[in-house]
């Protein structure tokens, strides 16, 4: 049977060197299991061996970040462990950041799976939760045994390449990630099971949780349209032929402005479309169907609007995350405001 090699990281306090007075101590490597590492070893049993315990002062790690990181990398290179475990750090901020850094380094630089444990409000959580698994702990070390048990259970699953459940099942802090798992029951069976539980007033759990959106306040209406500058922005993915700005075609996080100038309409021969969510043929035939330059020019001549903003702003809105949509919007708004645009027509596909 293979024995998993584990490198364990703890701070000066759990390494039994002392408290705040020795927080400046440098990094020490001991080829044995110490403190929480020993608990972990005992709880894990024979199949794992803590090949070394790294002990470092919290102040040292945070004040000499680069040195500390380099030392960790060296140690990992030397021991080549199957897994790295750190903490748990509970609510200790500097310790949490150190644990997160060590784990993230192991995963990013060597592809070694790594876990730690923290209290949800530990600053290390926000910094590292998307990168590594963090067991959710209490804010006090008196629950050490309980936390170590959870960490051992998750470590075993990771090392044995077993399916890892959702955050609630594993007791981890939500990483904000999503992936597919295979279920025993077919989708339709689970659907009807859930519906019938709801009918019978039994507890049930939705598989797709709902999140609240920000409320956006309506902008006040334009007072005098005949003096207003109107722009067009689209998520239909219209770009000049050859896509000179290398715009992404899925989950984009940027837009690009393209000069219209005095053109009365857009010529399909000058443009291409990067958007696989709709049939591009009709827009390529006449891009005004997406970016209605012809109509705005007419309204400009008829003095219904003051003038058309001489650029159209284009992005590809396909599987775009809210996060990226916000980035795109903020950047678009910045430009439009600077250029004195009063209103914008958004066209979507």
């Amino acid at each position: 049977m293979t024995k998993w090699k584990i490198v364990y990281y703890i701070n000066q306090f759990f390494g039994q060197y002392g408290g705040e007075d020795v927080a400046g101590m440098g990094m020490v490597v001991r080829n044995e299991a110490i403190g929480p590492a020993l608990n972990f070893q005992q709880s894990f049993g024979e199949q794992a061996e803590i090949v070394s315990t790294i002990i470092c002062g919290d102040n040292y790690f945070n004040e000499h970040r680069e040195d500390a990181e380099n030392q960790v990398l060296k140690i990992l290179e030397e021991y080549q462990p199957d897994m790295v475990v750190a903490g748990p750090a509970f609510s200790a901020g500097r310790y949490g950041v150190a644990c997160g850094t060590v784990c993230a380094l192991a995963e990013e630089k060597f592809g070694i799976p790594a876990i730690t444990g923290m209290y949800p409000e530990n600053p290390g959580v926000i910094m590292f939760r998307s990168k590594i698994y963090i067991i959710q702990t209490s804010n006090h070390a008196r629950t050490m045994t309980k936390e170590i048990t959870k960490m051992v259970s998750l470590s075993k699953k990771i090392l044995n390449k077993q399916q890892i459940g959702n955050a609630k099942e594993e007791g981890t802090i939500l990483r904000g990630l999503v992936r597919n798992v295979r279920c025993e029951k077919k989708g339709t069976t689970r659907a009807i099971d859930m519906l019938l539980k709801k009918v019978r007033n039994e507890p049930f759990e939705t598989e797709t949780p709902m999140e609240k959106f920000d409320q956006v306040e309506k902008a006040p209406a334009i007072k005098d349209l005949s003096k207003a500058t109107i722009a067009i922005a689209t998520d239909g993915g219209l770009y000049p032929v050859g896509n000179p700005d290398k715009m992404p075609f899925i989950n984009s996080n940027r837009y690009a402005p393209y000069y219209i100038g005095d053109k009365e309409f857009l010529d399909g021969r000058d443009y291409c479309i990067l958007h696989r969510g709709y049939d591009n043929e009709f827009v390529l035939e006449s891009p005004d169907r997406l970016v209605p330059v012809d109509s705005l020019k007419m309204l400009e001549k008829e003095k219904v609007i003051g003038k058309m903003y001489p650029y159209f702003l284009s992005t590809t809105g396909l599987n775009t995350s809210l996060e990226n949509s916000k980035i795109i919007a903020e950047n678009m708004i910045k430009r439009l405001k600077e250029d004195g645009v009063d209103g914008v027509i958004l066209t979507s596909t």
């Binding site: 939500l174 597919n180 077919k186 019938l196 696989r276 969510g277 049939d279 809210l322 996060e323």
Partner: protein, 425 residues
């Protein structure tokens, strides 16, 4: 209404001189079949076989169809497309198992699909486990997209019917009798002392325009009021996928022919629920239309089918979620409990972001039919269909192509024909 389905298991398919079916082996004279199913829109029609376990990728897959035949009225098979428009869901039907007709689409499309017969991507689709009869039809020069799509659909359905015809005299491996009557059976489980909850299924369909459509009796209903359909019609070839242009959001015909949600409800009827009917409900574009539509559908559920609970599936991408939300809103207001199910988009980055496009406390029960994930395409020995592929930077049999799991045909089913769910971690 009663539908008797005879199943025949096809164990092997070969090309040969004779066309026949013996001992589970289907032999096809290829030239003869091509002559029978060819179309003037094609400059070339090729038929290939793909076997489970082979290092083979079927490229640019359009639809997948289960071979079937209406035994008591062969002319009516696949009504409205190659058959006469005749009521379905009654009488006797023959279906072949172990094989599938796969069409490849040889014109440019915004998105393509593929099927791998082996390797890491094979586990996601049931069509890596069937022997596939693959139709590759090259369009004649100047052929219109719409004409090509229609021709392709006619040919693939004709092949599906033809294959079943070859096997029609064989002894069936299994028989299944489905029966369902709106008039009497709705009441059946009400008489019991322990009255079972009446569950209605709302099948939300997408028919946006020509060839972005799910068809029923050969027609996509681009504008339509919600309608009550008979559950057995679905199993009898009345519903066919004709969505080439946004195919990633549509299930294949094979899944319609074995509609998993209706199957589930039929199988639990009398046990823990009373299956009270199916409402076929459109997905319009505008919000006001969505509201009207949902209102009418819920009226049918409440006043005609007397639903206690409603389960809803959708087709299409993002905006059909709003229809689901509207349906839930009107249902819950009418004291009907709701549950919705769908495949989660917006997850290609691997991050869990807003999967839902609405916020409504009435929607508290959602089943995940999986989420979008990135997949790699390992090189294969043989490609059937075109080697150029929308979205793949390299030829499809070469290294370096990363696509999404919905590009695998049959991997994503919004009707719930799979075992995946997404987890948030």
């Amino acid at each position: 209404m009663k539908l008797k389905i005879y199943y025949i298991d096809v164990k092997d398919v070969r090309f040969g001189k004779e066309t026949n079916f013996e001992n589970g082996i289907l032999t096809i004279n290829k030239e003869e079949m091509i002559q029978k199913v060819n179309n003037e829109c094609f400059s070339e029609l090729e038929i290939n076989l793909a076997y489970p376990g082979e290092s083979c990728r079927i490229s640019r897959v359009g639809d997948v169809i289960q071979p079937m035949l209406k035994l008591d009225n062969e002319e009516a098979t696949f009504p409205g497309i190659i058959g006469e428009v005749t009521p379905m869901g009654e009488g006797e039907t023959l279906k072949l198992r172990g094989i599938a007709v796969v069409e490849t689409y040889e014109m440019p499309l915004p998105r393509n699909h593929f099927i791998d017969m082996s390797g890491p991507n094979a586990v996601f689709t049931p069509f890596s486990q069937t022997i596939n009869i693959v139709i590759t039809a090259k369009p004649i020069e100047g052929c219109e997209k719409m004409a090509y799509g229609d021709a392709l659909k006619q040919t693939s359905l004709t092949v599906a019917k033809y294959l079943a015809q070859i096997c029609k005299n064989a002894i069936p491996d299994e028989e299944e009798i489905l029966s369902y009557n709106y008039n009497s059976e709705i009441e059946l489980f009400d008489k019991d002392m322990n009255r079972l909850p009446r569950v209605v299924y709302i099948h939300q369909y997408l028919a946006a325009s020509e060839q972005i459509e799910q068809t029923f009796y050969g027609k996509g209903y681009y504008t339509s009021l919600p309608m009550i359909f008979h559950p057995l019609e679905f199993f009898d070839g009345a519903m066919i996928n004709k969505n080439f242009l946004q195919s990633m959001n549509a299930d294949v015909s094979y899944f319609y022919q074995n509609h998993p949600m209706i199957k589930e409800l039929l199988s639990r009827r009398g046990k823990d629920l009373n299956f009270s009917g199916v409402i076929y409900c459109h997905t319009p574009w505008a919000l006001e239309e969505k509201k009207r539509n949902a209102m009418f559908a819920v009226q049918l559920a409440k006043n005609v089918l007397k639903a206690d609970a409603v389960t809803i599936t959708k087709e299409g991408g993002g905006h059909p979620q709003i229809d689901m939300q509207q349906l839930c809103y009107f249902c819950e207001k009418a004291n009907i409990k709701t549950e919705i199910s769908f495949f989660e988009l917006n997850t290609t980055s691997g991050k869990y972001e807003e999967v839902l496009l609405f916020y409504d406390e009435n929607v508290d029960a959602i089943t995940s039919f999986g989420c979008l994930e990135k997949i790699e395409l390992p090189p294969v020995d043989r490609v059937i269909g075109s080697t150029t592929f929308a979205g793949a930077p390299n030829p499809i049999n070469e290294k370096g192509n990363v696509l999404n799991n919905w590009d695998i045909r049959g991997a994503m089913s919004q009707l719930g024909e799979n075992y995946f769910k997404s987890i948030k971690y």
